[in-house]
């Protein structure tokens, strides 16, 4: 599958996403935020970084970029849209995913490897994994504390739209394993149509053994619609 990786001023994981997708045998092109077209056959990646210097709020200004109209249209058509880290923040600001990402509860920027538990294989992004499987994925953020109203959180849980939760090495979802104070230990969610994923951990940073792990491969391969080899 071909992916459009959107570059906002201040994005810094765009090249990593392109590299990881190519390593996984996918096509990827960089799309400048002032462009307005995304092909109906493409997947979309909103990469990590600090779009517009995080001015006002993370993602608050990027959501008004010209390309976002095409991203919204792609999401509505059912195309795959993945927001990683700053991309997740942008998807929330744009209203493509519910809730918001606020300052980490402990105030620190957390740059480390997190354990996340796959909550359900029932999405293309998690189809490579089993329920409860523990993945090791790098995180690097200062504003990753997921917040939403109790009604929204209930809806996300009821519809099994929480795809990833921070957990300890044994896969237990406990407060000590929560790096940023996110409600319900949420690390990643999808939309009701299950074609839009937002997650704070960086799967593109763990797709090659040389990078310390390959736990992120299934997420990107699943997004690309590559069936899991039996």
């Amino acid at each position: 599958m071909r992916f459009a990786v959107v570059q906002f001023p201040g994005s810094n994981c765009d090249q990593d996403c392109v590299h990881a997708l190519q390593v996984l045998g996918q096509e990827a092109r960089l799309v400048w935020h002032q462009e307005t077209k995304i092909d109906p056959s493409e997947g979309v990646i909103l990469p990590g970084g600090f779009s517009y210097g995080d001015y006002l709020r993370c993602g608050a200004i990027a959501r008004f970029s010209p390309i976002m109209g095409a991203v919204k249209a792609a999401a509505e058509r059912g195309q795959v849209v993945v927001g990683i880290c700053n991309g997740f923040q942008i998807l929330c600001e744009a209203g493509l995913l519910p809730g918001a990402l606020t300052r980490n509860e402990g105030l620190h920027f957390r740059c480390e490897t997190a354990h996340v538990r796959v909550e359900t294989p029932a999405s293309r992004f998690t189809s490579y994994y089993g329920t409860g499987e523990v993945l090791k994925i790098p995180i690097a953020h200062g504003e990753g504390c997921y917040r939403a109203s109790p009604e929204i959180l209930q809806e996300l849980e009821a519809q099994q739209r929480v795809l990833f939760r921070y957990c300890n090495v044994e896969g237990q979802v406990v407060p000590e394993a929560n790096p940023n104070g996110s409600s319900h230990n949420i690390a990643g969610i999808c939309n009701a149509g299950r074609n839009v994923l937002g997650m704070m951990p960086h799967p593109e940073r763990c797709c090659e053994a040389e990078m310390g792990g390959v736990d992120g491969r299934g997420i990107l391969l699943g997004a690309a619609g590559v069936l899991k080899p039996i």
């Binding site: 006002l56 709020r57 608050a60 008004f64 929330c92 600001e93 519910p98 809730g99 918001a100 606020t102 300052r103 980490n104 509860e105 402990g106 105030l107 504390c145 917040r147 939403a148 109203s149 104070g181």
Partner: protein, 81 residues
């Protein structure tokens, strides 16, 4: 005209930044401190008195300057410079 928009975190949203500042205030000797909440103060100066400006400012406050998921805003519009 001048507009002042004050953006504050909703009461239900934890403000770790405010808490950290609160600890510093306590360290400065204030014993009865109950809470510190940090917000944003945004000033806009606009020439003339366009029709429908008030509604536009409401929209700007709601859509751009604040995020209704986690923040409230207060818009104060004053005539003149």
């Amino acid at each position: 005209m001048k507009a002042v928009v004050t953006v504050t975190l909703k009461p239900s949203i934890l403000d770790p930044q405010g808490e950290a500042v609160g600890h510093a205030i306590q360290a400065m000797g204030v014993k009865g401190l109950k809470s510190v909440r940090i917000g944003k103060h945004i000033e806009l100066e606009i020439e003339g008195e366009e029709k429908g400006l008030r509604a536009k400012l409401e929209e700007i406050s709601k859509e751009l300057l604040s995020n209704p998921v986690m923040e409230n805003f207060h818009l104060d519009v004053r005539a003149g410079g």
